[in-house]
Symmetry: D2
Subunit: 335 residues, 4 copies
């Protein structure tokens, strides 16, 4: 990316260099394209990352080991891996607690340094999850879309029991994975919400018990399904003002609203939040073990990603489709 | 209370009647006066409770058993008790899970029926906690102020570890109890925030490690104390727009904002909530076991309530002082 | 039962009487027969219950409401119900925490008073779970076999993650339910262990990933399956010295052994328990919400009980088969 | 140590060498002496560690950084540190979950390689906790005695509430720290058990609510204190057959027995373990964050170690005293 608000340019790049003993170079087999890539292009992350242009986006990567630093053990050339998106120090309190995304020295290839829309990417050995026997292009979206979905699902599932209701707003790249995970990580009834009919069909195929067309009054539909009580938990994978409001208004007493998609404001009267004892909680990607668990679920056949593959030079076209909301599942670049 | 927005009238009332086998009549020895009594007077709870005027407020009560229904076991006349403020059915899912405040058939004397600003109050045997050996007037505020404080403290403490920072905004009836509880239920460093100097002094006496004068820039002070990181958790016991905003802006990555005092709006950009993975959570009074635990802590001498006692007919004067923010600790009516 | 170590006698009994306002009389549609009924007959529970002979066993009951006490709300004649096996006071600390089996005033029809091997049984309204739309004879075993299985499964599942290993020793009345539950409440690989080939077949049908013939060296087989590491958790549904030893020796570092079947001794060197940081934990039936959740899972079709139905007067024949280990699934008496 | 069952020899040793980029050499300021050192001498750990003689014991160390490997960041010469006793890989599942003691590539200086009864010890940067402002000789025992105590206390405290009872058996090097921690990490009533009167005095000084002389019938005394119910949790810091039996027999329904001291057998009838739903759980040292938390508690003045300092060449004398049970608090060698 050379400029904000401009299309990406595909250029020839040098083979990268290992500068620390714990680094590895990965040959990219699949790099998923994310809504955050759109937000990056819009400059929305500039203040948070201070990245200098130009740099290479792409934070959802799978591939094979090309080269390892001298301190790396347990991995060798050609090993198939999926990459946890963060690069972490492993020694701060957050890392010791297993919460990689809160690392005090967090790096994020594709956001604050060169990422995976390229032939090679540099990361740390701490970010590698073995992916033996899996199709690397197919599973690349697990690295971010799937990882973000599993963490949000876990947060929602703590508020669940057999027969509880969990809402999933947005059946796109993350939502269609979340529905599958909810089937295996909760015994709740799943209500999928979207404005695109084909996506609601997909939701049903993947196990949603109810679908709600958000072109009509989604809150009303959710309240009807839940006999006026509302959902126990709901995850917003879209992140517009409209979806934020829908989620918040659909909660029952003690309910939890998990924010994943971002863009609008949370506007809540505090008297309502205490009278119904509500929780609103942001969810940020996921940690290393959550990715390892997700890869194992994929291996067990419990999670399948709907992917559309494109060569690297069609990246701008993919970003356009994503903006339009017309993509089914996740687009993956194959450098 | 005969009319919203008017002073209360003290009138002669009939001795109440037991209408169910699990009911008890309690002779009031102490009835705490709460900010919610002000909000009731302002009509703020009218839509939520649909109570019919006139009725008797007072939801923070301790006293002695006067009479028991025929199904009541384990209690007899003159037993000293403190009253959990809710009347619950004991059979719904919430009750079975121990979450009394979410009972599907919740009653709340003082809010939706006659309460404790009176000589006698009717409640259920399920609401009684034994208070043997305790001064009933002194401990009455545990029934609501203390109970609300302990639940909020528990929610904040889950985000804590030795050396973490927890903020307490408002050192009034609830806040001064919360500070004591944090000393015994967490090993966090406590930052007390208020605009009244004498209340900050009280906070220090009860064990706050830092005090912040909110007449100046409270967020800035909190960030200085926490070396720019912010607090791990913060509880808002005040509930103005200003305190809501202070709490939200004082959070560190992964931080939790527990709302107790209400009145304003929570306004949060969703990108910030996900980027820092924040949680905003309402807290609603507390459950039966939380009250039982609190009474035991009082028995152990770990919690002491600062009380000011008034005869019942000075109730309007007390409400005025409360509104003005000048009361230290909690006012208790002694009918 | 008239005498220990003797067959039961089937006699004419009077219609029971309601003696408390919260009691109900249930017309039995199905009463499951349990290993504990054998142990009762052997006198093993005499010291723990002090029951006086003669009395009626049967603690796994479903049926329809026949009559309700005057304090009972929400249930009326002919409502279909399944009975939580315990009768609890609802006011002690354990009840308030939702842990019914630890009630300080626990009653247990079929163990310490007349149970369900009869036309009618008396219980409390607090023990009723609605069973609308379910086959009462088929689901009766959920009341104890299923309930005990779900609690044990929950305890095992806390030690699990996708790809972890959980062992189930004994694929009888409880074990075949546990295997189904593990499929829906964990993403572990399930290892079923039994000495009867047809039961191992059943285990596979219900979703066990591995089966182990315990007539050979079960520990060795488990270690082979788990690549020498052992299981993360294992549940003993049998309770002989041999199964206790198998379970304990099959644990990996940090592993958990959940005891359900009883009969032998736990013999463990303390140096091993600390060096591998092992946990050995008894599991006792289950609480009310666990039964409610289980009934919902049955409603969702996720749990199916294999039952064999017998008229009440064949009870001694059923007890004999159970002793012999030849029963598939659970035997249910249909008075 | 040159031979099992023989006294240690103090010899001149070469300055050690850094062989990996993440290693550090620490100059020992204090090295605590532990019951495990006795057990090592007795050969009890030989089968578990396969260490080759001769080697240097000592796994409870504090000191200053002498030299760092080239990959080490954040530490420099003369920095004061306390050493987590384990050396871990940081990349296995256990390490990612923060459970250092279950690392798949665990090293343990003093047990399986040269430890801290020496002028210098080699460890990994991952094992260092900053100890600025603390007396390194005084706090050395936190590295193992304190760390093991805090983990056991956390396990016991999960079974606690205000007014619950927690037993501490053995008021030696670990027990006297555990009592202090229980005062700050639970609101339980603490029952200290020992056979030495001066140790029971120490227990009272550090906040035990009850003391029990184990030369008389300890189980009987505990049952009297707990009004016949037994303790909610109990920790065995001694590890003889007698203390194991005392702990197990002192449990109430739902109680938990945490094993720290080892040596005997756990012998439990499975019918009792299920009828009272008991838990028996080994506890193994502690993880990195538990040590970091403990150091912070020491900094806050909430934990104080009773130490007796000896020069390195009196190590055999110290081991003898420890065997005799006459040591108060913890002995620390000061090389």
């Amino acid at each position: 990316m050379f400029e904000y608000h401009k299309p990406l340019k595909v250029v020839e790049a040098d083979y990268p260099k290992i500068t620390r003993p714990d680094q590895v170079i990965v040959r990219i087999k699949g790099a998923g394209v994310c809504h955050t890539d759109l937000h990056i292009q819009e400059g929305m992350w500039h203040e948070k990352t201070n990245v200098r242009l130009p740099y290479t986006p792409g934070h959802e990567n799978a591939g094979t080991i090309e080269e390892v630093g001298e301190g790396v053990e347990g991995f060798k050339k050609n090993d198939p891996v999926i990459l946890h998106p963060a690069v972490t120090d492993g020694t701060c309190r957050a890392c010791r607690a297993g919460e990689d995304m809160h690392c005090e020295n967090l790096g994020f290839p594709g956001l604050d340094r060169d990422g995976g829309f390229a032939e090679f990417v540099v990361t740390s050995v701490r970010s590698l999850v073995r992916a033996d026997g899996l199709d690397l292009t197919e599973i690349a979206p697990l690295a971010d879309a799937g990882l973000t979905a599993i963490r949000a699902v876990k947060k929602a599932a703590t508020n669940s029991y057999p027969g509880a209701f969990i809402g999933v707003v947005g059946v796109g790249g993350l939502g269609h994975i979340a529905i599958q995970l909810l089937r295996h990580m909760s015994n709740a009834s799943i209500i999928a919400v979207d404005i695109v009919e084909s996506k609601l069909k997909l939701a049903e195929q993947f196990g949603a018990h109810y679908v709600v067309d958000a072109k009509k009054d989604a809150v009303k539909s959710i309240l009807e399904i839940t006999k006026g009580k509302g959902v126990n938990a709901i995850i917003d994978f879209v992140g517009t003002q409209a979806t934020h409001d829908t989620c918040y208004k659909s909660l029952r007493k003690g309910g939890k609203f998990v924010i994943v998609g971002y863009g609008g404001m949370i506007n809540a009267r505090s008297i309502d939040m205490i009278a119904s004892e509500l929780t609103v909680e942001g969810s940020l990607v996921g940690n290393y073990l959550e990715l390892a668990d997700l890869v194992e679920l994929a291996r067990q056949g419990k999670v399948r990603v709907v992917t559309n593959k494109y060569p690297l030079d069609r990246v701008n076209e993919v970003l356009e489709s994503l903006k339009g909301g017309g993509l089914m599942g996740r687009a993956v670049l194959t450098p």
